[in-house]
Symmetry: C2
Subunit: 431 residues, 2 copies
């Protein structure tokens, strides 16, 4: 055992914090063998000292205030598991960096909002700012982008970044149920929060995507530039059509270099049934990295939960124990270069369009004329009659189209007398 023990101060003793404490106890021999030194928890902080967590906290110094823990002489590494983009989490991380402590955090909101500034501060102090657990739970994707695949210029990074949404979409497909019903089920099973907005509206995935974008493309974290759509509007009928057309609907986070800059977008996507990511179901996450030398690498695993998140936190801690301190976003924080944000109306890709039209002569001709005049071309068309006299559903798959032109077409089509509902579009991602 060459080195001195590495002393952890853990702020936040919820599910993840408890998992980290348990991991350190349970794997003590393993951590020592793999790090060449012991890893131990020396101090903790949480809101309520007396809550029963199934953990004996008596060996650890207790701090009511995470900021006090962050600056404490008893610790080498401050492990921030409080959560939240501001408030105590941010104050404590800043205090830890100022005190020269290495920082490990699972806090995606914090890094998505303040990652660049925190990375600057950490680098000027010569300490680590590690956040593997902030993205895709147990999948070591941050390390893969920052190290293993770092010889590549990335062209696109995308993934299933929110397990709640993926669970709901998978269950909708399996059962044919509607969003609202499946959300209720997911809440009952503990796969969705009582207030599900943060997950189902795509905000959580956007946080993770903004971090991945910065890592992959070497630009400052720019959460404001992420185009965000959640899954509330995905309907059972669209899932049915997707299946019929050879697709699955997934909520993807996608960062892509285009001629107009970097696209960052979170929205429901149709992906071909033949792709790996189409088969990532339930609460699993997946991230795909596309690089110029490596081609495509797919990573899949649990995106949340005590064990996977503790595993990611410990990977970060072990790097520090082994003396590895790399720039948080792969390149030095002062070397991050702003890249233009590509506007969504410049987005180009195929689209799924679902229309509800009156079953009368000339409707398809009117729609086709609008698309033709905007130079949008159709790859395939499905028509489903319902009962006589009822509206007919028409589904179009476009060839590569520009979003602005497609939006114009949808407005014009929506105004046709024979079109009885607003057109519904879902982007198709070519993988």
């Amino acid at each position: 055992m060459s080195g001195s023990p590495l002393r952890l101060g853990i702020a936040g003793l919820g599910t993840v914090g408890g998992g980290v404490v348990r991991l350190v106890l349970q794997q003590a021999d393993l951590l020592a063998a793999r790090c060449g030194r012991t890893v131990q928890v020396t101090a903790v902080s949480a809101r309520d000292k007396n809550r029963d967590r199934g953990l004996d906290l008596s060996p650890y110094a207790w701090h009511d205030d995470p900021v006090a823990l962050a600056g404490s002489d008893d610790i080498d590494v401050f492990v921030e598991l409080i959560g939240g983009e501001d408030g105590p989490a941010k104050q404590a991380v800043e205090a830890a960096i100022a005190a020269g402590k290495d920082v490990v955090t699972a806090n995606k909101a914090l890094i998505a909002h303040h990652g660049t500034a925190l990375a600057m501060a950490a680098e000027s102090q010569g300490v680590a700012l590690n956040f593997e657990a902030a993205v895709a739970g147990g999948i070591p994707i941050v390390k893969a982008l920052r190290e293993g695949l770092a010889g590549n210029r990335f062209s696109r990074i995308y993934g299933i970044l929110n397990g709640t949404c993926n669970y709901i979409l998978s269950a909708m497909r399996d059962s044919g149920g509607d969003f609202a019903d499946i959300l209720d089920e997911a809440q009952a099973l503990g796969y969705a929060e009582a207030d599900p907005a943060f997950d189902v509206d795509g905000v959580d995935a956007a946080h993770k995507l903004a971090i991945l974008t910065s890592l992959a493309f070497g630009c400052p974290v720019n959460l404001d530039a992420v185009h965000i759509e959640g899954i509330r509007n995905v309907s059972a009928v669209d899932i049915e059509f997707a299946t019929e057309l050879g697709y699955r609907i997934k909520l993807l986070g996608i960062a892509r270099l285009t001629d107009h800059g970097v696209e960052q977008r979170v929205h429901p996507c149709m992906v071909a049934e033949s792709t790996a990511i189409a088969h990532v179901d339930g609460v699993f996450n997946a991230v795909v990295a596309e690089g110029d030398f490596v081609d495509r690498v797919v990573f899949e695993g649990r995106g949340a939960g005590e064990g996977p998140t503790a595993s990611a936190v410990m990977g970060d801690v072990m790097d520090i124990a082994r003396g590895i301190r790399l720039p948080a976003f792969s390149v030095a924080a002062n070397g991050l270069k702003t890249i233009d944000a590509a506007p969504m109306d410049q987005h180009i890709g195929p689209y799924y369009v679902r229309l509800s039209v009156l079953d009368q002569a000339g409707v398809i001709a009117d729609i086709s004329a609008i698309l033709r005049d905007l130079e949008l071309s159709i790859g395939s068309l499905l028509q489903r009659g319902r009962d006589p006299g009822e509206p007919v559903t028409v589904v179009l798959i476009t060839h590569e189209s520009q979003e602005a032109a497609l939006a114009t077409a949808m407005t014009q089509i929506g105004k046709l007398d024979s079109v009885v509902e607003d057109p519904k579009i879902i982007r198709i991602e070519s993988l």
Copy 2:
């Protein structure tokens, strides 16, 4: 740019060596930004100086002898891309270590045969011995096991480790063709070597598996303990039955901790159609790691080729450029602990059994009696009549069975007069 340039000496200028030279030239700015120092090739060695490689070698010092390159004052890192378990590759790597150079190699045969001894030598010299490119091409699985997932106790590591075999099995399934025909096609397409034995007999996968085993379980590399079966005996009819039963046949390398020690085995496996690995087709590789905290993580990507292998080599080089030098097998080489090799006859799992029997009364009763007496139980049974008077095919899926008992049963069943061919078995892996 804080540090001095990192100088690479590259031995072996085949496909991979050429790819590494091209990567260093093409990504010079990227490598400098991500490493905080420039990375350059200063010297090279290959068998034939005059072969046209589409590369200008004039900027680099030339060495006819890789051993001389390894000890040269012009280099900081010796990149071994010669191949072969002994001979010049081994001599040059040993010379580089002795001269205090960091070593990066893509040579799985070398590491599978001599990895422990080389790791000891490297650690006593304080240099790196990195071999990401030796396993699963562009997939950063070595780094994931050694670092990102290092907080876990692994229970099983398995994967599709040979692209040639996976291509052949995928093509057999797609076309219904037999092994020999598809092998011919694969050779014509350049997916299989003129002498395919190293790939199709499972030796290449065994090399990679032995390396993964050592990394995951902290034991010395023990290639001799790997049970190896290739894919020559996989027949079109078995692939057909697999599909009917909801399985795919894959050549897997599997390392698993059991009550009898560590199992290391490479053999054709039936895997459930619902698993991620069942859908990894063609020349792609995949590795699955199962750890106690992270649960299951799946990695998928290209297992060979110029770009992916160069990407993996560069990941290793960049670690060195950034000052990261970890023990080759995660724990210190002198801390690797021998684990008993679990004998294959103690293997427990379900089995697929295919029999060709005469269509006469009592056959199934005879077979069932043999299985019952050995306490083997059957999960399902399929029977396929052919033409009248012709033998009938019977397929059994057993419940969890011990290999020794199953082998005894197969010997006894094979001796029945009504059984007209040797029973064919394929192990089923529960994933």
